[in-house]
């Protein structure tokens, strides 16, 4: 990687790759959370990190946002090295964590105010931006409410608007829709798309919902601290193979015979009462197939491989299979020596 920090500082507008990660590793004691991952994210892209719990998604976000130090590897965010210029990295990013980080004592407006001040947003601009982000996330009417009275979905929306108020170059979303109802989920995706459209914000998000990952421009599938696949959702699906057509006819045997005569290049499988074929371009082949077969077709189904199939293919299991990966570490309740010592032994400020 040939990134010259000094040049990029002057012309951060010109960079096309806003996140660059090269051979990033992170160990927690003996546990290898990240085993050398590399990827880059282009400006204005929605980049998804897909993987089961404990795969290393949150660890990656924490390293990119300077909350955790990498064990080794190079990480550049908006052209700044996270190790040498964490201040500039922090200024260029907005974050929405998995857990809420709002100040529940205060009102929605005050939360935005604190945030804007922390990021040095000028006071005059603040009022305008406040209106903009609150209207975007449909919280303008509730701006004077205390956050403790907010529902889970409202809190999440407020967090997204808060993360947008300083106009970050990159918005990190750690499982932005987890635990929300489908309606709110769709809305949150709307906000994400609007934010990208207006400000060309790059969006980096993690998710364990496969259907949501389809909204991303590109996806990296991460498993056990390694990236096992990285491409656009379409290409990933193409990678595992062809479309599947299954159909039923009044006379399956005749249909089978006809099919084998006319399309010897395709394999035909008989599964129960259904006939199943795998073809490259299912949507084009479907009309040809219907015309070619003389028995009456009762039902016909064209299925595209889903990301679930992709995940199955690259990791060897389904995404929901392994709850066991969730290694929950029991923390010590109280350690007196830790209270007094200047050098606490286990600095667990950063959890996976």
């Amino acid at each position: 990687m040939t990134v010259d920090n000094e040049i990029l500082e002057n012309g951060s507008q010109q960079i096309t790759e806003v996140i660059q990660v090269e051979n990033l590793k992170k160990n927690y004691n003996n546990f290898k959370a990240l085993k050398g991952i590399s990827f880059s994210v282009k400006k204005g892209e929605i980049f998804g990190f897909l993987g089961p719990n404990g795969a290393g998604k949150t660890t990656t976000i924490h390293i990119l946002s300077t909350l955790t130090l990498p064990t080794s590897g190079l990480v550049f965010v908006n052209g700044f090295n996270v190790l040498t210029r964490p201040d500039m990295v922090r200024r260029s990013i907005g974050l929405v964590f998995q857990e809420t980080t709002l100040d529940t004592h205060l009102t929605a407006e005050e939360n935005l105010f604190l945030h804007a001040y922390l990021y040095g947003v000028p006071k005059k601009e603040f009022n305008q931006r406040k209106r903009e982000v609150l209207k975007l996330c449909e919280l303008w009417d509730k701006r004077k409410w205390r956050v403790e009275n907010f529902s889970g979905g409202m809190k999440r929306r407020l967090e997204i608007s808060r993360a947008l108020i300083h106009w970050p170059q990159i918005l990190f979303l750690d499982e932005p829709t987890v635990g929300l109802d489908p309606q709110t989920r769709t809305k949150i995706w709307d906000y994400i798309f609007t934010a990208r459209k207006h400000k060309e914000t790059t969006i980096f998000l993690t998710t364990q919902y496969l259907n949501e990952a389809e909204n991303c421009d590109r996806i990296a599938i991460i498993d056990n601290g390694e990236i096992v696949a990285l491409d656009t959702p379409e290409n990933l699906k193409k990678m595992i193979g062809e479309d599947i057509i299954s159909f039923r006819t009044l006379d399956n045997e005749l249909a089978e015979k006809e099919f084998k005569e006319k399309f010897p290049e395709y394999k035909l499988k008989k599964i129960g009462k259904e006939l199943k074929i795998e073809v490259e371009n299912g949507d084009e082949f479907l009309p040809i197939l219907v015309k070619a077969i003389s028995p009456k077709i009762i039902s016909i189904e064209l299925r595209r491989p889903s990301l679930d199939d992709v995940f199955l293919e690259v990791t060897g299991r389904k995404i929901r299979d392994d709850e066991t990966l969730k290694a929950v570490e029991e923390e010590e309740k109280f350690n007196l020596a830790d209270l007094f010592s200047l050098f606490p032994k286990n600095n667990k400020k950063n959890k996976t």
């Binding site: 946002s65 945030h115 922390l118 040095g120 309740k333 606490p344 400020k349």
Partner: protein
């Protein structure tokens, strides 16, 4: 987490602004919690009133050459500001558990400023608390002029800055809110009992006095006694229930402030 020379990246006005906003949040939360404001004033007054009159009846003036509630009042005042400063800074633990601390940690604000903003916020809140309690002085037939009042406020500020920094220092080591009660029992309770706020330490065994010489709370209580009582009481009487002079109290507290500020910032950065 943050390399030592990174402070140079932050322009001064950004640093001041962030200091201000963290200080402001502390005051905002204090102001929001009206019930806490009320009880934090009500309880000390109740203590002075009931304990004061109760003990006054127990020890007749022939045994005790001073009014017990006059002895009691400055001590309780100092302790109630301590409670205020501590509860404000220990809210770091609360912030950590509920996530808001992370919002501050990922913002482009130097870590040392987070600590300083928190400490000064807590100190301001504690000083306001002390000032409010001072309004009760005339009812205990203690005369205080305007200059005395200002002096007391300045002293309270110096004292509580150290206490708040102590709070940050300990809060950085507490990971869970459940650990609070243990911390209060092991650290705060002994320090409060040995501060001389509840009883004079002068006639106690030497080892207790030696411990008291290391206890910042004790210097706080003694300093406040000199400042609050000297306009109304003779010096000889005050000497009966203080261990340290006003000058040595101020000197000790300033040195203590410097040390504990450094330690608190250092420990929080980790």
């Amino acid at each position: 987490m943050e390399d030592s020379n990174s402070l140079k990246h932050y322009p001064l006005n950004v640093r001041l602004k962030s200091l201000y906003i963290i200080w402001y949040r502390e005051l905002l939360i204090y102001w929001r919690n009206r019930i806490k404001v009320f009880t934090s004033i009500f309880l000390p007054l109740l203590l002075v009133l009931f304990f004061g009159t109760g003990f006054k009846a127990l020890f007749p003036t022939t045994l005790l050459p001073y009014d017990f509630s006059q002895f009691f009042y400055p001590g309780i005042l100092s302790l109630s500001t301590v409670v205020m400063a501590m509860s404000s800074t220990l809210s770091i633990v609360w912030d950590r558990e509920f996530g808001f601390l992370r919002e501050i940690l990922v913002s482009p604000v130097p870590r040392s400023n987070i600590v300083l903003g928190k400490i000064f916020g807590a100190t301001t809140v504690a000083t306001i608390q002390g000032a409010l309690l001072l309004l009760a002085a005339p009812y205990l037939s203690l005369e205080l002029g305007f200059i005395d009042f200002i002096k007391i406020i300045i002293f309270l500020f110096i004292f509580n800055a150290g206490v708040s920094a102590l709070g940050v220092f300990f809060a950085s080591g507490i990971k869970k809110t459940e650990s609070f009660s243990v911390f209060l029992q092991i650290v705060i309770a002994p320090m409060s009992f040995l501060s001389g706020a509840f009883f004079p330490l002068n006639n106690l065994p030497l080892w207790v006095k030696n411990l008291a010489h290391l206890n910042p709370f004790c210097y706080g209580a003694d300093g406040l006694r000199w400042l609050i009582l000297s306009p109304s009481l003779e010096k000889e009487k005050i000497l009966l229930f203080t261990l340290h002079s006003l000058k040595s109290s101020i000197l000790f507290l300033i040195i203590f402030d410097f040390i504990i500020f450094t330690l608190a910032i250092y420990r929080f950065k980790r």
